[in-house]
């Protein structure tokens, strides 16, 4: 097995959303380097790409983790699907490995229920990373309210955690020595 210490294995997880994107940078399985949210308005895709490029320049991740918006059953808005493809192309151009994880995979690996809710996932993540995330956990959404923007961070964190559970071994086994 060609594994390097996980601490040096940096991933950037991106959760695209209507108002921009949430992101998490992790080294290894437990170390959160940075997390947050970038807002995009006007031409959202152009702005999101520009902001994402800055993150890629700064953190130089080994792997970019994205949601698989083309997966069966995914109902993401066409703009998000286009942006997802653009982000994927951009990462491949920079020779960064891209890992796509479907929403179903996220739910079944994180909470053991493919029909679980985002709130359940967020609560689970907040309990796993209490120092970083507990204070940012949004209150349970009322039916008549729109989703809290902080949920983007939890979506990105879910992608990062599932990547670490599911895929980090296979990625480090097929090291490309970038």
């Amino acid at each position: 097995m060609n594994q390097t210490p996980l601490k040096h294995f940096r991933i950037l997880a991106i959760a695209l959303s209507a108002g921009g994107f949430g992101f998490v940078v992790m080294e290894g399985q437990r170390t959160i380097i940075e997390f947050g949210r970038r807002v995009a308005d006007g031409d959202k895709n152009v702005q999101s790409i520009a902001k994402l490029e800055k993150l890629l320049d700064f953190y130089q991740p080994d792997v970019l983790v994205l949601q698989d918006v083309e997966a069966k059953g995914s109902r993401r808005y066409p703009r998000i699907k286009t942006l997802n493809r653009q982000v994927k192309r951009m990462a491949e151009k920079r020779k960064i490995k891209v890992k796509l994880i479907s929403g179903k995979q996220l739910r079944s690996l994180l909470i053991g229920n493919p029909r679980g809710t985002k709130q359940e996932m967020a609560e689970m993540l907040a309990s796993q990373f209490p120092d970083e995330l507990a204070s940012r956990l949004p209150a349970k959404r009322k039916l008549w309210k729109s989703e809290d923007s902080r949920m983007d961070i939890f979506d990105a964190m879910a992608l990062a955690v599932v990547f670490n559970i599911d895929c980090s071994d296979s990625i480090s086994d097929t090291a490309d020595g970038r």
Binding site: T4, P5, K7, H8, F9, R10, T31, I32, I33, E34, F58, Y59, Q60, P61, D62, K97, D131, E132, S135, I171, S172, A175, D176, G177, R178
Partner: protein
């Protein structure tokens, strides 16, 4: 697969302690209106902090300077090893075996096994 460490982990540690840049700047003893900006520039690697500030960061975050500036340390460690290699080739009046051993271990330790913090 392994990526080089980030030049510094100041931001990560500040977030860990839930401190604001302004607060960190105050603790570091920075003065002036833009004191938070100085912390920001340290974190974004656009400014290299002085030795006093580096040690103050260690005191604030409770992590060694070597850990806080991991990427920078790695880079400097490599440079030192390169220089040590040159020094081993040089004919010196000083033939002390301790010196020879120190240089050899520095070269082998650092060039073949850069620090893993």
């Amino acid at each position: 697969m392994s990526s080089p460490q980030l030049t510094n982990y100041l931001r990560t540690n500040r977030n860990r302690l839930a401190l604001w840049q302004e607060e960190t700047a105050f603790l570091l003893g920075f003065k002036g209106e833009d004191k938070g900006g100085k912390v920001c520039r340290d974190e974004k690697f656009t400014r290299e902090p002085s030795l006093r500030s580096a040690l103050a960061y260690e005191a604030i975050y409770g992590r060694s300077v070597r850990e806080l500036f991991a990427g920078l340390y790695q880079q400097i460690e490599q440079e030192v090893a390169e220089r040590a290699k040159l020094l081993t080739y040089r004919k010196a009046g000083n033939q002390n075996p301790k010196r020879h051993q120190a240089l050899a271990s520095l070269v082998s330790r650092v060039l073949h096994n850069p620090s893993q913090i």
